[in-house]
């Protein structure tokens, strides 16, 4: 955890968090835009590192995309300010929504997202996949074109699944899974913000577990998992958390998805529900491939090479998987 020592990074973390708070709590679009820009400018120093070329490349790409998105955001809010014509309400909302979709890395402007993820370290990946999505999503909820976003949701799920299907890189895979989950998140946003909060919290919790575990064993590609000789508890933890992320019923990840499915069905959105469920089925297949390689494959293991993990990390990870399992209790009490 280098950033705890580096005072620059501490500062930029501070601005990163507060810029999000600025943008989601301001009551004018301009204030939102300011928050987004501060967010961009504080995240770039966090991801650059002088030693790693990939990081620098990623930061440059991030800068380009994330500056174009707020520019268009600014442009469209100004346009809306100038032309107070309710006849074009839909198109304005599409414009604003598009720039926000670009910002959060959703379909159809998601192409930067896996590329940049590929160049980041696991902790930055975690921030990118969770915290950086808060402000665009909240802004989206302020001014949302339901028809447009519904199509985007469905495509998010499909593309997230299809993109992650053939991936070898775990970071890209997680990026696509994040795109998949973005669909769920938008749908929860459509229903109520408290559901979104719960979903987002649980999702970022699961993503955090995955990122921390991959960070601990320093894994970036699936085939690295074949060769690694892991602790039994670690393997079980990977398995439980991946299945939880995929939404296997008794686990925590299913609980959040269940809520959303329940509300979607209550609001008669059957088509969206169908696509969500089908895509999460394939998502589980993708996760099981990772589990399979790490857990069940036997042949290529280095018997003489033992991955050493500090005991307190193991404790933390076991605690995580315990929480993942606690989804059973949550889901028991949810509908009673």
């Amino acid at each position: 955890m280098l950033f705890m020592i580096n005072s620059n990074k501490m500062f930029f973390f501070f601005t990163l968090f507060f810029s999000t708070l600025i943008s989601i709590s301001s009551n004018s679009w301009l204030g939102c835009w300011i928050g987004l820009e501060i967010n961009l400018l504080s995240f770039i120093p966090l991801i650059t590192s002088p030693n790693n070329l990939l990081n620098s490349e990623a930061s440059l790409k991030y800068f380009l995309t994330q500056s174009i998105a707020p520019i268009n955001f600014l442009f469209s809010i100004l346009l809306k300010l100038l032309m107070l014509n309710f006849f074009f309400h839909d198109l304005f909302s599409i414009m604003i929504n598009s720039s926000l979709l670009m910002k959060m890395g959703s379909i159809p402007f998601h192409f930067w997202f896996p590329n940049i993820m590929e160049g980041l370290s696991w902790l930055n990946c975690f921030i990118l996949m969770t915290w950086q999505k808060i402000s665009p999503l909240i802004l989206l909820s302020y001014y949302m074109n339901i028809n447009f976003i519904s199509i985007i949701m469905i495509f998010n799920c499909i593309i997230g699944v299809i993109g992650s299907f053939n991936q070898n890189s775990i970071r890209k895979l997680m990026a696509f899974s994040s795109i998949n989950n973005l669909g769920w998140m938008m749908s929860s946003l459509m229903i109520s913000e408290s559901i979104w909060k719960l979903f987002f919290f649980l999702y970022s919790f699961l993503i955090m577990i995955m990122c921390i575990m991959s960070y601990l064993i320093n894994i970036f590609f699936i085939n690295q998992l074949f060769n690694i000789n892991l602790n039994f508890f670690f393997k079980i933890s990977i398995m439980i958390n991946f299945l939880s992320l995929g939404g296997l019923p008794p686990l925590l990840g299913f609980f959040s998805k269940w809520m959303i499915i329940n509300f979607l069905i209550m609001n008669n959105m059957f088509l969206i529900t169908f696509f969500f469920i089908m895509s999460s089925l394939i998502m589980i297949f993708v996760y099981i491939r990772i589990i399979y390689s790490s857990l069940l494959s036997y042949s290529f293991k280095f018997k003489w090479f033992k991955n050493f993990i500090k005991y307190n990390y193991i404790m933390i990870i076991n605690f995580f998987s315990l929480i993942s399992l606690s989804g059973m209790i949550f889901s028991t009490f949810f509908f009673i």
């Binding site: 174009i68 599409i94 598009s98 192409f111 930067w112 590329n115 993109g163």
Partner: protein, 578 residues
């Protein structure tokens, strides 16, 4: 094994102590007409409560007392019988678990806890049947387990149906919901479950197959525990079942079971199988008197039968021990000279089985036959009853002639010894019980005695058929090798009777052939065919190809991507402006 406090002795002590407790409680309950129901609510939600309940009345206490008495003496007997067994502890634990699940079944008025006991019986009976780990006992165990599984499924479905009433304490609904459609469905399922457990006709093939179990297990299973569970369940449900059409079918089927088992026993040469088939015949008797509405008589016969059947199996075990693990009755003979005490036990239990006066079986069997005669009866059932009574005498006399009178045929060097006092002591307990239990129970449990009034011929009809049966048995035991050729004259008919009306064949090959060939076709055409092409492999390929296409899009130029975004925004702006 020869230390003073072996596991057998300790288990014997506790079971016997528990038995005595039950005995005194039973006497108190029966005389003060008392019923105690203990209920503990485990969970309750949405107007459904799952409770663990215990029902203590004289019936459950008496049955428990008999189960415990038999199991305690069988376990004590096992100390000698299984003395060279390496896994004796495992065996004893299995048997005790078996007894415990039977007790759970006996004391529960709740269908869920009945299922616990019922499934426990099924599972542990499987473990006990495959105790001698070879292919034969594996097959027998599988047949036992799967046949009993049908009954388990029926009980499970009863649980599902009883969900409608909000509680699984069936005992409250027997009278109250009698005319409900759901209750009729439930009673049909209960009857089917009881038929599997008590091996009535379509399901009877497992009972002789279960003889692959060690003999003490047979003594326990076929006397008081496993096979009587079905009868006991129907006795508990008797209030509900009165005047049901299904009960008439049960009456016919159990009567046919009685006859089928009696005939097959006459064709059999395996000592244990003869006894198993006689158990089957007696079970048919219990079931049929039960389905005529006399639950207390069925219970009475169940108890007395438990006593002498356990004793019979224990004597058979002693004989098998002495015969160098040989079960063929043609090899045995002249035993009354060599082993008088064991022969005494064997003969007394056999005599009790065919209802020789003043032994245990007489009181129950004679009463059943006379009550049958006194009621308004279908002639077919009357015929089945009396014919089967004759058959009981038939195979009993035949067995006794083979064992006691004929010559000893096994080997020229043999060691028949009657000094195994552990076995003899435990057999003496049951011997005493099979002498007095009929009389004792008939005084004890019939608060309202049955009045029998019939003419001399009717009264003597039992004796007529018994004498005829005994005569036939004596004649058949004289059969020689050339008499067997007579069988070939009606080969198919004889095979029909010998193979228990083809039931073992039909329940194994008769079903499996069709099911397996169907599943082979399914496997070939669906699993390895269309389903593989469309769902497994095909779906994977499809998504993989889509993924490849999406990767091509993914690998585009960054500039083009940014441009396309700007282009999209411009497009929408133009739509606004134009």
């Amino acid at each position: 094994m020869h230390q003073k406090f072996s596991i057998c002795f300790i288990s014997f002590f506790f079971l016997f102590f528990f038995m005595l407790m039950n005995l005194f409680m039973m006497i108190y309950f029966i005389i003060s007409n008392l019923t105690i129901m203990i209920e503990w609510e485990i969970i309750s939600f949405n107007s459904i409560s799952i409770v663990m309940s215990i029902l203590l009345d004289w019936m459950s206490l008496l049955f428990m007392m008999f189960v415990l008495l038999i199991s305690s003496s069988v376990i004590y007997w096992k100390k000698s019988y299984m003395s060279s067994e390496i896994n004796l502890n495992r065996f004893i634990i299995l048997v005790i678990m078996f007894v415990l699940s039977m007790i759970l079944l006996i004391i529960s008025p709740n269908i869920i806890s009945i299922l616990l006991g019922w499934d426990g019986l099924g599972l542990i009976s499987y473990c006990l049947v495959i105790y001698y780990q070879n292919v034969k006992s594996y097959n027998a165990g599988m047949l036992t387990a799967l046949s009993n599984r049908i009954g388990d499924v029926m009980i499970l479905m009863v649980i599902a149906w009883m969900l409608n009433y909000g509680s699984w304490n069936y005992i409250y609904y027997l009278m109250f919901m009698k005319n409900d459609f759901f209750m009729n469905v439930i009673s049909i399922m209960i009857i089917l479950a009881a038929m599997t457990k008590s091996a009535q006709i379509p399901f009877s093939s497992w009972l002789p197959a279960a003889m692959a179990a060690p003999t003490p297990v047979s003594a326990l299973v076929h006397s008081s525990t496993l096979v009587t569970a079905g009868v006991y369940l129907l006795i508990r449900f008797n209030l509900l079942l009165e005047d049901m059409f299904m009960l008439k079918i049960l009456l016919l089927f159990s009567g046919l079971t009685m006859m089928m088992a009696g005939i097959s026993a006459n064709y059999e040469y395996d000592l244990k199988k003869i006894i198993a088939l006689s158990t089957l015949s007696q079970l048919g008797l219990m079931m049929s008197i039960l389905s005529m509405g006399y639950g207390d008589l069925a219970f009475f016969h169940l108890l007395t039968h438990a006593m002498f059947k356990a004793l019979l199996f224990m004597c058979a075990g002693v004989l098998i021990h002495m015969m160098n693990d040989n079960q063929d009755i043609r090899m045995m003979g002249g035993l009354s000279i060599f082993i008088p005490v064991t022969s005494l036990c064997f003969n007394i239990s056999n005599m009790a089985l065919c209802g020789i006066p003043f032994l245990a079986g007489f009181y129950s069997k004679d009463l059943i036959l006379e009550v049958t005669m006194m009621s308004n009866l279908n002639m077919m059932v009357l015929y089945l009853y009396y014919f089967s009574t004759g058959l009981t005498m038939f195979y009993t006399i035949r067995l006794m002639m083979y064992l006691m009178i004929n010559d000893f045929n096994l080997m020229s060097v043999y060691n028949l010894y009657d000094e195994d006092y552990i076995m003899l002591k435990s057999m003496m307990i049951l011997l005493f019980m099979s002498l007095i239990s009929g009389s004792m129970l008939s005084w004890m449990i019939f608060c309202y005695p049955y009045m029998i009034f019939m003419s001399l011929n009717m009264k003597l009809m039992v004796i007529y058929v018994s004498l005829m049966g005994g005569m036939m048995g004596w004649l058949v035991s004289k059969m020689n090798i050339y008499s067997v050729n007579k069988f070939l004259m009606m080969y198919n008919l004889n095979m029909f009777f010998t193979l228990m009306w083809f039931m073992p064949n039909l329940s194994v090959y008769g079903f499996n052939y069709y099911i397996l060939s169907f599943s082979k076709n399914l496997y070939k055409n669906i699993d390895m065919g269309w389903s593989e092409l469309f769902s497994g492999y095909g779906m994977f390929n499809l998504i993989k190809n889509y993924s490849l296409i999406s990767m091509i899009y993914q690998m585009n130029n960054f500039k083009i991507y940014l441009f396309s975004f700007v282009f999209w925004m411009l497009l929408i702006m133009l739509m606004i402006l134009v």
